[in-house]
């Protein structure tokens, strides 16, 4: 902390005292006196309770005294469950002292759901109407502090009037502005925009700087949501700022703080301007540039005072000006000056300034104009990483290095981060590990460097290397055959260390199991040596790692027939076959059996090398985002991604299919008849990726990851969970009859915090709109923590359709804007009516529908196990009748039904022919309308 220019207050240690009541435990006598404290407090609470309940009316002083005591007891962390009624009586009093203490109690102790609110609202109403500025002030404070919805309902219409009325006192205006701001934050839907908005903007010209400060805060928040409506505030803010910046330090009298004119107001005005792009009007723009230049110039002037308050105030304005310059990102001249200024601060003796400079440079690094300029400070930043005493500052340095990293300096930065990692604070190690892993992957020109870096990471900070990181290195090695041999050699060498981290054993086991053959030619790493090396670690490892190693062993059986018997001996040993852990035991039994009964060909097929993983966004990025909170990383990442989109074919986001990195150990072998069908909701980390896309409030988010999969699951069923992330769950229940349907959408808030501005919107393309009519009512914009709201959608199928509507949900959670889109599973087959018919009828109709446009056929590979019963259930779920004994081949499935639309009815016949040997299906659809055949075939093909 900087040494303040004052000698400091609160020099008096507090010991036990008896004045209020002796209730404090001193640290020396904690245990015993803690009990004593609780005893004494309970006694005092009983006393106060009896006084409140007693027959004798309490005088004003006693009431005040007891309420103050309750406040103090509450502060110490004890529950207060009474006194509220007394407080309401106090605040309804006409005496200032009583009113004031009553309001205080209520704003500290009443939560927003209290039933007392109605009584309190009455008292507030009276005070607001009293025209007594002191009472009005108290009432406004109470509203602003409690800020509940009930209060918003009662007063949101009234407060704008007070704010802009000509005869309102300045102090009341100030309070009214902030009160309105609070209500707008909690219940924006209840604050009506209207005539008052333009008059609020003109408060920026008010004589009283306190009023201007409060109004600027209000306008900034309003302008973020309604930029058009408050556009005029830009020129007013610029001229106000200009007057402050160019004023002599004495002009603003009391608002000059340690020779800096109105620093808080300047900061607020600069924030307001950050809601808008650079002003279009050249005159305004010129004036603003002038202001910013003046602020930058002042930074170079000698200080007018040595007091730290002076430099704090001056620099607060300067940093805000720099933020605005970065935000506008349009004047190269100013950007360079800003960068130079921050460069100076990087070496300043004040820790606070170094901290802020590192932080601001992070945002500057993402600007095209200044990225290069930021890079010139790399040595200073690396030095900060090595020498700063304060972990908060070092963390900023790590962030900045990450932000300034590109191809030209990646090797240096990664090396520095790795060496810092050896001594880094435990609290930030995991984050550094993630950052190193991301940078190493993103800027790898040479994948051997990438492999080395990750193995180093595991060596230095193995405990902090999360699953995402080591899954990723395996994915990359599997996908790039140029690095496989090197990876095998490197892990083999790394495993030689007598003590190596379990994560290294995992990576080593996996890679040798896949690519051990690439180094087996060298007698120093012969198959047996590889096996013995891995097996020497086996007994020190946890169960999941051992399970992975068992899989490696069976892969060895395939790769190296010469060690087969050795491995079979290991598998056959009691410690494996009779292992207490079910998973290990099962693997040992199955692998042993597999190695004995299977022919070489079958072994080779079953234990084939892993196919490349589909390219997808690194889940490490998602993890980092989770650690840092959605807001902090996103912008930077987005910007970086744009810049580096072409690098390495980049970890591009794959909007619809991106799922979290699957565990390679989970389907290492793909043993068994067929892979299990994916079931259940998408992995929870899918929700993280949603954050990536949810930056701009107005835009509709791209489809959530997993949305397509979930959509497909609903083709053959009507109820279930459509979407789930950490915050929100969306459930569906729907029913259809003929061409009509009704869908119940349930939105569940999984958190304990309210969702605000909750707005689900159904989006249909123009095409879709003409064919499918959807009707629904808006839902309540507030969803309480743990609560569920329901929305009903009435559906009418006018004509056959192909696309699906998109459900977009936007809301605020905590301070962050959330934006989620999912495909709503309203599909053509929902309007099926099953039709039973005999074999003869079926084939007669089948022949009638034989023109080429009427038939659509698809031959495809089975994605799920080919189970007759499941297939039957799916065809019935799809909506058509399942016709038994119709097809001469009993293995085939045939179905029939009618699709109902408002305009017409379309008869449909379908036939599904499974081929078990080839694991393929042939699906044929014949309907009287080509588009219908096409769509139904698409929908149904996805199901098997």
């Amino acid at each position: 902390m900087e040494s303040p220019g004052l000698t400091f207050p609160f020099g008096t240690e507090l010991r036990c005292h008896t004045l209020f009541f002796c209730c404090e435990a001193t640290p020396e006598s904690e245990g015993k006196s803690k009990e004593a404290e609780i005893k004494r407090i309970n006694k005092e609470l009983a006393n106060i309770r009896s006084k409140f309940k007693g027959d004798k009316a309490l005088d004003g002083y006693s009431k005040k005294k007891y309420v103050c005591k309750l406040l103090f007891i509450f502060l110490l962390g004890h529950d207060i469950d009474f006194g509220h009624m007394e407080a309401v009586n106090l605040l309804s009093s006409n005496r200032y002292t009583e009113k004031q203490i009553g309001y205080l109690f209520i704003s500290v102790l009443v939560n927003s759901n209290s039933e007392l609110i109605r009584l309190i609202n009455n008292a507030i109403k009276n005070d607001l109407a009293s025209r007594n500025p002191t009472f009005m002030g108290l009432a406004l404070h109470c509203i602003a502090n409690v800020g509940s919805r009930e209060m918003a309902e009662a007063f949101a219409g009234e407060i704008p009037k007070i704010l802009v009325a000509g005869d309102t006192m300045d102090s009341v205006k100030q309070s009214a502005a902030l009160c309105l701001l609070r209500l707008y934050r909690t219940s924006p839907d209840l604050v009506p925009m209207g005539d008052w908005t333009s008059r609020v903007v003109h408060l920026l010209n008010d004589q009283h700087l306190g009023v201007v400060t409060a109004a600027t805060s209000l306008i900034t928040t309003l302008a973020q949501k309604n930029p058009e409506e408050f556009k005029t505030s830009v020129s007013l803010a610029v001229s106000r700022l200009s007057r402050i910046v160019t004023s002599a330090s004495t002009d603003l009298q009391d608002y000059t703080y340690y020779f800096v004119p109105a620093p808080w107001l300047s900061v607020k005005l600069l924030r307001l301007l950050q809601c808008y792009p650079p002003p279009e009007d050249p005159a305004v723009r010129g004036r603003l540039t002038e202001c910013l230049e003046t602020i930058l110039n002042k930074a170079q002037e000698p200080p007018k005072s040595k007091k730290v308050q002076h430099s704090n105030a001056k620099n607060a304005v300067l940093f805000e000006a720099i933020s605005l310059i970065i935000h506008h990102d349009s004047e190269p001249n100013l950007l360079v000056r800003a960068c130079n200024q921050l460069g100076q601060f990087l070496q300043h003796r004040e820790t606070n300034l170094r901290y802020l400079a590192l932080e601001s440079m992070c945002t500057l690094a993402s600007s095209e104009f200044s990225h290069e300029a930021v890079k010139t400070h790399i040595e200073t930043v690396i030095n900060a990483l090595k020498t700063e005493r304060d972990v908060s500052v070092r963390q900023r340095a790590v962030d900045l290095l990450y932000a300034m990293c590109d191809r030209s300096n990646a090797q240096q930065i990664v090396a520095e981060m790795l060496s810092y990692l050896e001594t880094a604070d435990y609290s930030i190690r995991e984050e550094i590990v993630l950052k190193v892993a991301i940078l190493a992957e993103k800027y790898a020109v040479d994948y051997t460097w990438y492999v080395d870096t990750i193995l180093n990471l595991i060596r230095i900070a193995g405990d902090y290397v999360s699953e995402e990181v080591w899954y990723r290195v395996i994915q990359i090695v599997i996908n790039r055959d140029d690095v496989q041999g090197y990876a095998a050699k490197t892990v083999f060498e790394a495993l030689q260390a007598p003590a190596c981290h379990e994560n290294l054993v995992k990576v080593g086991g996996y890679i040798l199991g896949e690519f051990g053959n690439l180094i087996a030619g060298d007698p120093r790493s012969s198959p047996l040596i590889q096996f013995n090396l891995l097996h020497s670690k086996f007994h020190l490892c946890s169960v999941p790692t051992r399970a992975l190693l068992l899989s490696t062993y069976i892969k060895f059986v395939n790769l190296f027939p010469e060690v087969k018997t050795t491995i079979q001996d290991v598998l056959r040993s009691d410690s494996q076959l009779k292992n207490a852990d079910v998973e290990l035991q099962q693997r040992a039994v199955e692998y042993l059996r597999l190695s004995t009964v299977a022919s070489t060909d079958i072994l080779a097929t079953v234990l084939e090398e892993m196919p490349p993983f589909p390219e997808r966004e690194s889940s490490i990025l998602a993890k980092l985002k989770k650690k840092k909170g959605p807001n902090t990383v996103t912008d930077l990442e987005e910007a970086k991604r744009e810049r580096s989109a072409d690098v390495n074919g980049g970890p591009e986001p794959a909007p619809a299919s991106a799922a979290s990195t699957p565990s390679p150990s989970a389907d290492l072998l793909g043993l068994g008849a067929a892979p299990p069908a994916p079931a259940g909701p998408p992995p929870s980390s899918g929700g993280l990726l949603v954050d990536v896309f949810s930056d701009s409030p107005s835009a509709v988010a791209p489809l959530a990851p997993g949305s397509e999969d979930n959509f497909a699951r609903f083709v053959c069923k009507n109820n279930g969970v459509l979407f789930e992330n950490q915050l929100l769950q969306i459930g569906l229940k729907s029913e259809f009859r003929q061409n009509l349907g009704r869908m119940f959408i349930f939105y569940g808030n999984k958190t304990s915090t309210q969702f605000l501005n909750f707005t689900p919107t159904l989006i249909c393309s123009d095409d879709l709109q003409t064919n499918l009519s959807l009707q629904t009512k808006p839902v309540d914009p507030t969803v309480d923590g743990g609560a569920q709201v329901q929305q009903i959608v009435n559906i009418e199928c006018v004509c056959d359709f192909t696309e699906a509507p998109v459900l977009n949900i936007q809301f605020r959670y905590g301070g962050t804007f959330q934006n989620v889109s999912v495909k709503l599973p309203i599909t053509l087959n929902k309007f099926f009516q099953p039709t039973e018919m005999a074999s003869q009828d079926f084939f007669q109709r089948w022949k009638q529908l034989s023109s080429p446009q009427q038939e659509v056929q698809n031959i495809f590979k089975a994605k799920h196990p080919m189970d007759t019963e499941i297939t039957k259930a799916k065809i019935i779920g799809f909506g058509s009748a399942l016709l038994e004994d119709v097809d001469p081949n009993p293995a085939n499935f045939v179905g029939a039904g009618i699709i109902h639309t408002k305009t017409t009815q379309i008869g449909c016949l379908l036939r599904l022919e499974p081929n078990l040997q080839a694991q393929m299906y042939r699906l044929t659809l014949r309907t009287s309308k080509e588009t219908v055949s096409q769509r139904l075939c698409e929908l149904l093909s996805e199901q098997f």
């Binding site: 602003a144 105030a313 170094r354």
Partner: protein, 173 residues
């Protein structure tokens, strides 16, 4: 926005807590403890800003604090506030307390819970900065005192501060 303003002493005993977002009573106490834990283990002469604890909202929020002899003044703020601006605001708050209590000490915060809240209310409202001009704040507080005195007297308060503690002068401006 300012999420919370906390004052606690070197032992972590709360002396003032004001939350501008609804938290349960339990969470409030946990936030005070968490914040104390984060702030108190820091050396003197390091920077006055750090990332907020998990309970108050993690790294989206900052803790901005000053340490005055026996007391920590901590403001938890989101990213819309200027760090240095808040740091100066803490100073204005303390200087104002000193003016209103004439040499404020830790005991004043205990004896005059209501007054401290009133002073704070003149500066911060619903989590936003209301007034930064110390003279204006003091004028408002003086007006309140006058109003109080003008009302019929209530029973005399028997405070014996001076007998309990030797008061130290704490602001040498």
């Amino acid at each position: 926005m300012i999420k919370a303003i906390l004052i606690f002493n070197n032992h972590g005993k709360p002396r003032l807590s004001k939350f501008y977002q609804p938290y349960s009573e339990d969470t409030q106490q946990q936030i005070i403890r968490e914040t104390f834990h984060l702030v108190s283990k820091r050396d003197e002469n390091v920077c006055n800003f750090l990332e907020g604890g998990l309970l108050i909202g993690g790294s989206d929020n900052k803790l901005i604090y000053r340490h005055y002899a026996t007391l920590y003044f901590v403001f938890c703020v989101d990213s819309s506030e200027s760090e240095l601006g808040i740091l100066d605001l803490i100073q204005v708050f303390v200087e104002t307390l000193d003016k209103c209590f004439e040499n404020v000490c830790e005991l004043d915060l205990i004896f005059h819970v209501d007054k401290v809240h009133n002073i704070l209310a003149e500066m911060v409202m619903g989590g936003m900065v209301l007034e930064t001009n110390m003279n204006e704040i003091v004028t408002q507080i003086d007006a309140q005192n006058k109003l109080e005195k003008s009302e019929p007297p209530v029973m005399e308060v028997h405070l014996q501060k001076s007998t309990l503690l030797e008061r130290k002068r704490f602001l040498h401006l």
